[in-house]
């Protein structure tokens, strides 16, 4: 193949015109042939200014929420949560008192239901921006999730996620707005685990990450 044929092939690859075997061959060549990889890179640099003619478009703020949940390290999350909690204190006061009441009741219940009592238990109060809360209490074998003052849109369910820094969030389970629900504790759950709740279609997020908006988030506190 002449140099100009190689150059055209690299240009066709960048334009996305190659298919099937030709595409596989070009991809293999990029991995093994540094000179060809450089030709591809040059075409990307040449053609990418085309994007400048595309008008800017502001995405929904939910996109950043999803990125933040998937990337934010727990060390940064905890103070953020406390600050937000304090900032919205007056608005959240009654919801918080109610949530703690529910939490206390749950913990008392789990104390009597599980003997001997667990050495370490955790609780998370996940704030919803509409003033509602999700209380997640960890017992020895289950997570007990109680939505409080939360109304889900019709046709939507809530999905609980473990948030692992630098990794995709891990789905824990689905629940509706009414009543509390027990779920198995995921093996990868850790002390002080960050959690998030997303709105999903019935059956949960179709992919491995939240597909809908994050409606509440927070982290476990060890009791």
């Amino acid at each position: 193949m002449t140099e100009s044929e190689r150059n055209v092939l690299a240009g066709e690859y960048v334009l996305g015109l190659l298919e099937g075997e030709a595409l596989k061959a070009a991809e293999a060549q990029i991995r093994t042939d540094a000179n060809f990889a450089a030709l591809v890179q040059n075409w990307e640099n040449r053609l990418m200014p085309l994007v400048e003619i595309v008008p800017d478009l502001v995405p929904s703020s939910l996109v950043w929420n999803r990125i933040a949940v998937a990337t934010r390290p727990p060390a940064v999350r905890a103070p953020g949560l406390v600050q937000r909690w304090l900032a919205g204190f007056s608005k959240r006061f009654y919801a918080a008192v109610a949530a703690l009441g529910v939490a206390f009741a749950l913990m008392t219940l789990s104390f009597f239901m599980h003997t001997p009592p667990e050495a370490e238990r955790q609780i998370a109060v996940l704030n919803n921006r509409d003033g509602g809360t999700f209380v997640v209490a960890e017992t020895k074998t289950t997570l007990v999730i109680t939505p409080h003052n939360v109304t889900l849109p019709a046709g939507r369910v809530a999905e609980l996620w473990l948030v692992v820094p630098n990794h995709a969030p891990q789905a824990v389970g689905l629940f509706q707005s009414g009543g509390s629900l027990n779920m198995a504790i995921p093996k990868s759950s850790v002390s002080g685990q960050s959690l998030a709740v997303s709105l999903e279609p019935p059956g949960g997020a179709p992919g491995s990450t939240p597909s809908g908006p994050i409606i509440a988030e927070g982290a476990f506190t060890i009791l």
Binding site: S4, N7, V8, G11, E12, L15, G16, L17, E19, Q41, E44, N45, R46, L47, M48, P49, L50, V51, E52, I53, V54, P55, D56, L57, V58, P59, S60, L62, V63, W64, R66, I67, A68, A70, T71, R72, P73, V76, N166, A168, T209, S211
Partner: protein, 186 residues
């Protein structure tokens, strides 16, 4: 390159370096500065808002994990590096899924849309050069190259749209690419 552009470029490069050391505030800053540009690209290619949002999210997760791979000494600006990731991911998604393909009207719009005033991200000089070189090409060829770039279209689909034989479309695009390269390097 004017001074403001040079500063903006240096700033985004520095931002990527901070993201490479897991600085979350730097990621948030980069998102504020570039998400509208990158979302515009994703939406242009995919049409579907939810799909474009998914790809935008994916782009920033890639940046979070691979910012260390950005090398400013290789002559590529940070915004070009980001735009390449966004465009390639969006085209992959378009070709992999059953997302609607950009309509002919929308693809034509790409040709007509005048550049935005907000040019802090990239030098206008290079865009003008590419536009000037594209305008020297046969019109069918320039349109086919733009449609392929934004629409993830195969030679077959480009030929059908232009209503010319497949072999003719291939030779038009191949000759156009060589002309483009010569023009851009002159």
């Amino acid at each position: 390159m004017d001074e403001a552009t040079a500063i903006a470029r240096a700033e985004l490069s520095a931002c990527l370096a901070r993201i490479a050391s897991a600085d979350h505030a730097a990621l948030e800053y980069l998102y504020k500065r570039t998400s509208a540009k990158l979302f515009g690209i994703c939406k242009r290619i995919l049409s579907d808002t939810a799909a474009a949002e998914d790809v935008l999210q994916e782009v920033f997760l890639i940046v979070w994990n691979r910012a260390g791979q950005f090398d400013p000494t290789r002559g590529v600006s940070a915004i070009t590096w980001l735009a390449t990731i966004a465009r390639n991911r969006a085209v992959d998604r378009l070709r992999a899924g059953s997302q609607g393909i950009v309509s002919i009207d929308e693809a034509e719009q790409v040709v007509d849309t005048s550049p935005l005033a907000d040019h802090y991200l990239e030098t206008a000089e290079r865009d003008e050069r590419l536009n000037a070189c594209l305008s020297k090409l046969d019109e069918r060829t320039a349109t086919a190259i733009k449609q392929a770039f934004f629409g993830g279209l195969t030679y077959q689909k480009l030929a059908i749209r232009a209503n010319i034989p497949l072999a003719t479309m291939k030779s038009l695009v191949r000759r156009g690419l060589l002309q483009l390269k010569i023009c851009l390097e002159s």
